[in-house]
Amino acid sequence: MTPDLTLHHKLNEAARRIRLLLVLQWTGRTLLAAALACLVWLIAGKLGWLEGPSELSTGIVLGIAVGLGIVFGLVHKVTRMDVARLTDGRTDFKERLASAVEFERDNTADPLVHRQLQDTNARAVDLDLRRAYPLRATRQMIAAIVVTLCLFLAFLLPTFTIFWPRAKKQEIAEVKKQAADMQKVIRISEKTADQQKLGSSKQAAKEANKMLEAMKRSNTTKKAAMIQLSKMAKQLEQQQQKMAAANAPGQKSLQKASEEIKKALDQKQQAIEAADKAKKDAAKAAGKDGKKPGDKSHENKDGKTGEKQNAKAGESKQSQAMEQAQQALQKFAQALADQNAAKQNEALQQLADQMEKGQMSPKEMQSLQQQLQQLAQALKGTHLDKTSQQVKQMAEAMRQLKLDPETLKKLAKMMRGAGEQCKGSGKTQLDAKTLAEILQAIKDGKMKLAAGSGAGIPIPLPGMAQGKGKGKGTNGMGQPTKPLKGEVAGTPKATAIGKNGGLSVDSRVSKEFMKYAAMGHKDSKYKPNTQVQGVRNNNVTELQMNYKGDPDSQYSSGTPLFQPNGQPRRGVESAINKENIPAAYRRQVKEYFESINPNR
């Protein structure tokens, strides 16, 4: 490097280092100011004077401060003369550089000036700018780092469990426990879904398990857990709706079909019993008249009365095959109510076996044919519509064709086919059922979390007027009126039954539960399964449901009035069994709970 250029090179290098130091200086200043401001803001937030900053907002503020510092450092005016003078001061160059910068600019012909420039260039070779401008953190930068570290710790330390308040630890422990409990239930459904290869349920169970596993592992607050559970529940409900839409809309429920079949079977049974009774009466009457059995003297000339009587006698007496067939039909009806596709198939297989045996009399076959018609009619409109059609065809065939063994075989085969049909469509039912179980588990878990530990939803008692409770400080059930710590007000323990059998004013049962209670009352305008709008009580334990109007048979909501979780249900059952309920009201209480039983 030529001597002439040394000065320029050195000044340029010095300028760069000065610029860098300026950036560090300004960044330290702005960062310190911002960090202090954030710290004050945080303290104000902790003291409740205003809303404290979040990690994100603090990060943004600090980031902006750093950016501003860099900008200020870069735009700070630094002239060449400033660089020269600063360097002179730091290197004991005795104004050589600054003088050289000025003399160079003046471009004079003075030999002394030129000598000065030469001299400066020569000395500049040994100029150690690193020593002159060491890159080190300024005091402001160090202070800024310290304050930023304090901020960081202020956000980080509360995440450590050791610093959590007891209440928070308990809350998180509760969430984890609840997640574990829900997982236990969902695993059962998952197992079923795996075994039965139920696609939707399996996927739902998997997702639910994943969410619950994450909840168990992380420190999720109750609020966050409830939000996650609500989202999951909503997702599952949407899935449910899709599945319901995929099946034939506006279908009749299997419950109803089961009821119809049972009704038909009951009627048949009653007819048999009536016939049986008539037979007995006739036998009795015959005994009184001194007539012996088999004596035909009582018969009229055309024997019609006797035939009628015999006919009745014959009706009353079923063959074993017919009995088995009836049992199979009962079993099928029950399997429909239970939505158990395997048992439905089993029942129909059993029926097919009896038909194939050919041990039923023509009358019995006729009766069976009628029952099958009724069966087909009952199944019509459900998702077993195809089975209904098959059974209807079978019944038609039974009516028209001669029931020889060959035909019976064919009919039995058709029956078996119908059974398989049930089994197939049962998979869809099972999937929906399993999905509903998973959804129920999620909802139960959410309600348990909302209710808090050990609490449950209060169960209002129907037909109970409000009144003072028995005993001082106790409700009618002998329980203290004030709820225990951690317990939701209005839990079964706190529910009061007054002297006159009504609910105690002091029982703290919400007004909405009184409405629910009124629903079971015979004079209530609300029928069972009506959805009404509820409001949350002070302890946030009631679900809010929307009113859809009085349901009639066409719009059976099928939604329980409310869904008591396991604990209050058990509490209720236990309460029912106790002697605390007056005997006169036990039946009413029992009827009420049966009316709201979703599995009725």
Binding site: D4, I18, L21, L22, Q25, H76, K77, V78, M81, D82, R85, L86, G89, K94, E95, R96, A98, S99, A100, E102, F103, E104, N107, T108, A109, D110, P111, L112, V113, H114, R115, Q116, L117, Q118, D119, Y133
Partner: protein, 346 residues
């Protein structure tokens, strides 16, 4: 950078040589003086600086510190004509400048002939200058400023180089005539001669009470001094350094922005522009002595005190408080340094 058309490498080499010679000659004279004078290095430097700067020096110190000896030794070392004027109250101006005397011509006529006074020397020692009357002091003033005297309307120029070294006693001020400000202003430097230290006094005693007598050899002559003076004046000064010197002088005035609280409180009058001239010239000489070709802040700061201490007039409060002008100069030096510091701080 190199204007090849106007400045050749020969010129630069010559300058370099001359600068080197300046320093070496200065040091040689100083060494020669130190053969006789013990210690007082700043005083010797100051006196020599005054010589190189075409200025005069006022030496203030108690009797017996070697002020007269210093001047005599200086005149020997630089091979210049030396004269001493002992100022007394009865000294007349003509006793300094000279007078016309009536002389007989060889042809028997009479004519006036100018007889030069003791001031017509290269190095003039004006001993105890504050003992003479103001009238006599003013005669000295003209010689110091104009480097000439006017007698009977005829101007008589001094020989060059011309250096007046005046002395005054800070004690025994009774019956003396303090130098007027106008005359004080003509001195480039006011040098305070301190008492010797133990080691210095020991050396003095050794040298002066023994048998050996040091002889002083002339090191440089008048012509060389004149070239050295010329070279010193040519040393370039950057604008920011010049501004520093100017601000220092302006800060001595109590009505200026840069004046410190001390200046505002204790100073009646500040330095004249001669103070700034003195500072700059002396700083140039100092820069050259250090082998630099530019004036530095350090040079200015070093020469500020001797150049300004006699130019700042204290008010009654300042004198009553016993404030020294040196203290005031220290204060305003730091103030001006802060003012002229680079605005960028890293």
């Amino acid at each position: 950078m190199d204007n090849a058309g106007s400045v050749g490498s020969v010129d630069i080499a010559k300058i370099e040589r001359e600068a080197a010679e300046f320093g070496s000659k200065f040091r040689r004279v100083k060494e020669e003086i130190r053969k006789v004078i013990v210690g007082n290095e700043p005083i010797i430097d100051g006196v020599l600086t005054c010589l190189m700067a075409s200025g005069h020096a006022l030496l203030e110190g108690v009797p017996g510190l070697g002020k007269t000896l210093l001047v005599k030794t200086l005149s020997q070392a630089v091979d210049l004509k030396f004269s001493r004027i002992q100022f007394t109250p009865d000294l007349m101006p003509a006793d300094i400048s000279g007078t016309n005397i009536l002389l007989e011509t060889p042809v028997g006529g009479k004519q006036f002939q100018f007889q030069p006074g003791p001031v017509f020397a290269n190095v003039v020692l004006a001993d105890e200058i504050n003992r003479a009357t103001p009238k006599t002091q003013s005669a000295m003033l003209e010689a110091m400023q104009e480097h000439s005297v006017t007698v009977a309307g005829v101007r008589h120029a001094m020989q060059q180089p011309f250096l007046v070294l005046a002395t005054q006693n800070p004690i025994e001020m009774e019956g003396t005539y303090p130098l007027p400000e106008a005359q004080m202003d003509r001195f480039l430097f006011k040098l305070l001669v301190p008492s010797p230290t133990f080691e210095e006094l020991s050396a003095i005693v050794d040298r002066t009470t023994g048998g050996a007598v040091e002889s002083i050899q002339p090191v440089i002559e008048g012509g060389e001094i004149l070239s050295m003076r010329q070279l010193a004046r040519e040393v370039p000064i950057a604008s920011h350094v010049r501004e520093f010197a100017v601000k220092i002088v302006l800060a001595t005035h109590p009505d200026r922005e840069l004046a410190t609280d001390h200046v505002k409180r204790f100073v009646r009058f500040g330095s004249s522009p001669r103070g700034a001239q003195a500072i700059v010239v002396a700083a140039k000489i100092r820069a050259l002595l250090e082998g630099r070709y530019n004036v530095a802040f350090e040079d200015i700061s070093t020469v500020a005190k001797p150049a300004l201490r006699h130019r700042i007039l204290l008010n009654f409060e300042g004198e009553a408080e016993g404030i020294s002008t040196d203290t005031i100069i220290d204060g305003l030096l730091s103030r001006v340094q802060d003012e002229t510091r680079v605005k960028v701080t890293v």
